[in-house]
Symmetry: C2
Subunit: 139 residues, 2 copies
Amino acid sequence: MEQLRETLKGHHLRTTTCREDVLLTFMNKKNALSHGDLEGALGENYDRVTIYRTLKTFLEKGIIHKVLDDEGLRYALCSHQCSEEKHQHDHIHFKCNACGKTNCLENLHIPHVTLPSGYQPESFNLLIQGKCPECLGNN
Amino acid sequence: MEQLRETLKGHHLRTTTCREDVLLTFMNKKNALSHGDLEGALGENYDRVTIYRTLKTFLEKGIIHKVLDDEGLRYALCSHQCSEEKHQHDHIHFKCNACGKTNCLENLHIPHVTLPSGYQPESFNLLIQGKCPECLGNN
DNA sequence: AAAACACTGCAACATCGTTGCAAGTGTTAC
DNA sequence: GTAACACTTGCAACGATGTTGCAGTGTTTT
């Protein structure tokens, strides 16, 4: 709980109950969350718009990042310390086609890809879809 | 023009002017297109809903596939012959942050990634963002 | 304590995508 | 060619998603 406040303070944000709750939700559920997920979890306490704005603020400050799969947009906590100035997001995300959850695979990096000449890459994002260990275990 | 009809026939679809026009638009513009792009190009001739349904049908039949970047959902022609039964889409997409266009890089494949044990991958999707040759040339 | 600033909720709006239904069109069989 | 059928389209309505302006409230700073 103190840690939450540290995180917010560290990114120059005021600690409000909404921000604490959103951050807490991200830390409890470990997978990526959509606005709808958060609204489902916290919607009785906070306005839809406030949740949108909280996500936008967290994005700008580098607390969370976007995660994309074929179903749409979600968000997940940044693992390495990102800030407003610098984001480091050459992520691998894994989406399970059985349970539908999407996670960051933290400790992998994306192998080098040789692009055709003339292309100047700036960021990489790999989405792998398949079955996650938990779903395979339940067969 | 005949080729269009062949493509539609080959996927067991009736040839209608809307489907021909949508297909033609994909073949002329080479980058990935959103529903909005198509509505802008063809909206005076066809209803919004019809375009949505055409995209949905093309997706199901394997004529186009989804392309995701940080801005949302687009569609692009399938290069290899996909069908209703089988899609092969381990794609690399390049999105230019200057002009905003997203393209498939056809001739590259995604290098092998070793996943933690327990994960069973089924498909791979790599999005690279940066600057495209055309935009770099204009500096 | 007052002024400046940031956050929230509400209302309204814009965009995006879906569904049901009636009318129209392409395809097949004769 | 024509009739019957199934598929496709346009319209209207709806739901979901995301944004903006503004007034009220709470925080910081001095």
